[in-house]
């Protein structure tokens, strides 16, 4: 299941990057394109191992930068930092709580663009920044954070469909029933 999980996460990352570059409805509406990868990284780091986190950071980052004017590799770093940090403190996190998912989602979605911009600026890039960037950052943080519970729901549904159905066992067994009376 672990390999399948990794495969699903990578496939979703690939589709997410494609959706971000091909469908600009939200960008036209509110002037912001939400990054779908940090939230996915939160899901991956809470539900999978370090190999999955590393693969998602490298592949997701490269796919994103390939379709963007970002310097190649810029998007790997924030994803890697998010993934490894959550992995480090995974044993302290209440992984099943929606509240936890939201908080981690907001933190990751807010942190990722800031670190990416810092790297771009440190390499001498000239990204388009202004007061509107604050709105973009806010929208990316909120909408990106809201995506984490969605990813959990989505993957739970997928595994429910693909996994074995859980056998419901009862302590009652008819063959062990003690028949009383004359029989």
């Amino acid at each position: 299941m672990s390999a399948l999980n990794t495969l699903f996460i990578l496939a979703l990352a690939f589709v997410a990057v494609f959706v971000e570059s091909s469908f600009g409805g939200l960008r036209r509406l509110i002037g912001v394109q939400v990054d779908l990868l940090p939230a996915l990284m939160v899901y991956a780091s809470l539900s999978s191992g370090l190999v999955t986190v590393s693969l998602l950071a490298v592949c997701g980052g490269l796919w994103f930068d390939a379709l963007s004017a970002n310097r190649l590799g810029v998007s790997i770093v924030p994803l890697l930092v998010i993934g490894f940090t959550i992995q480090q403190f995974r044993h302290l996190i209440l992984r099943q709580e929606t509240y936890t998912h939201l908080v981690l989602g907001f933190a990751a979605s807010g942190f990722a663009p800031l670190l990416a911009l810092a790297i771009i600026l440190s390499y001498g890039g000239e990204p388009i920044l202004g007061w509107g960037t604050l709105w973009q950052w806010f929208a990316m943080t909120v909408l990106g954070g809201l995506l984490v519970p969605v990813y959990f729901q989505l993957f739970n549904q997928v595994y429910r469909v693909l996994g074995y159905e859980r056998v419901v066992e009862s302590t009652y067994r008819s063959d062990r029933e003690i028949a009383r009376g004359r029989g």
Binding site: V51, A69, L72, I128
Partner: protein, 270 residues
């Protein structure tokens, strides 16, 4: 963490550092190669769009179609009348130009391209089009629509190309402000957007004669930059304001092209 984890982390960090420090040329080639993985999805999205358009066309009422046909027929007839006159003017122009030794401008050679993707990051303004090296594209070719200038080609792969849009700092354009009589009022450079969220405004910097620049005046390309042919419409002046304690003036320009609603563009071939 286990030792194995630290090792994995170290490998990923080193790999990231290597990728980040690739030479621009190598990085571009990697980008184009990785980006080509998305081609099937782009194709699928394009086909889906075409199917949706066809489905939409199927439900257009016959009455509207007939009306459109009639309108096109009328326009066609008008253009047929104008064509011989324009051919005659062109012939006269060529004759007079030859007499005064004026260099003839070459015929407009354009290729239609479809926008297949936009930059997923919020801090760049560029799009990808479905033409590439195999269609004769190369870096720095101007891109436009019927309304005006869109930008320039910045990266080219075999089957697609990246176009930097006006307003992106990596697409500076030398521009001329013209008045109603088509006289040159001032010159400047467009190299930054006027607002982060609104793609329809850019800033025209380094104005020399700002007092003469008025709202509503036309902004077109000048040939000073060497990349863009002279006279392509860019937009209209919205307002002018002094910056740096009045030492320099900057004008806000409303672009002629709606950048956030681009579907098809023309690449101006050499």
């Amino acid at each position: 963490m286990k030792r194995r984890h630290y090792l994995l982390l170290a490998v990923v960090v080193v790999l990231t550092l290597v990728i980040l420090n690739l030479s621009p040329r190598t990085a571009t080639q990697f980008k184009l190669a990785i980006g080509s993985l998305f081609l099937p999805l782009f194709g699928l999205a394009g086909s889906g769009q075409q199917v949706a358009e066809k489905a939409g066309n199927a439900v257009v009422p016959r009455k509207d179609l007939l009306k459109q046909i009639e309108q096109l027929r009328r326009e066609n007839a008008e253009l047929k009348v104008q064509l011989p006159r324009l051919a005659e003017l062109e012939r006269q122009n060529a004759h007079l130009s030859a007499q005064v030794g004026f260099k003839q401008s070459s015929r407009l050679n354009i290729k239609l391209a479809r926008i297949i993707a936009r930059d997923p990051a919020n801090w760049w303004r560029n799009v990808q089009i479905d033409l590439g090296k195999r269609d004769g594209l190369r870096v720095d070719l101007p891109v436009r629509t019927a309304e005006g200038l869109v930008g320039r080609v910045s990266e080219v792969s075999e089957t697609r190309a990246r176009v930097v849009l006006l307003g992106d700092p990596t697409c500076p354009v030398s521009a001329t402000v013209r008045d109603a009589l088509n006289n040159v009022v001032d010159q400047g450079v467009i190299k930054s957007p006027a607002a982060v969220l609104d793609e329809s405004f850019v800033e025209l910097n380094f104005l020399r004669n700002a007092t003469a620049v008025k709202p509503g005046q036309l902004v077109v390309t000048s040939d000073e930059g060497g990349l863009f042919p002279k006279g392509i419409r860019i937009g209209e002046i919205v307002d002018v304001r002094p910056v740096d304690f009045g030492l320099v003036h900057v004008a806000r320009v409303k672009l002629a092209v709606r950048m956030n609603a681009l579907d098809d563009v023309w690449v101006m071939m050499p």
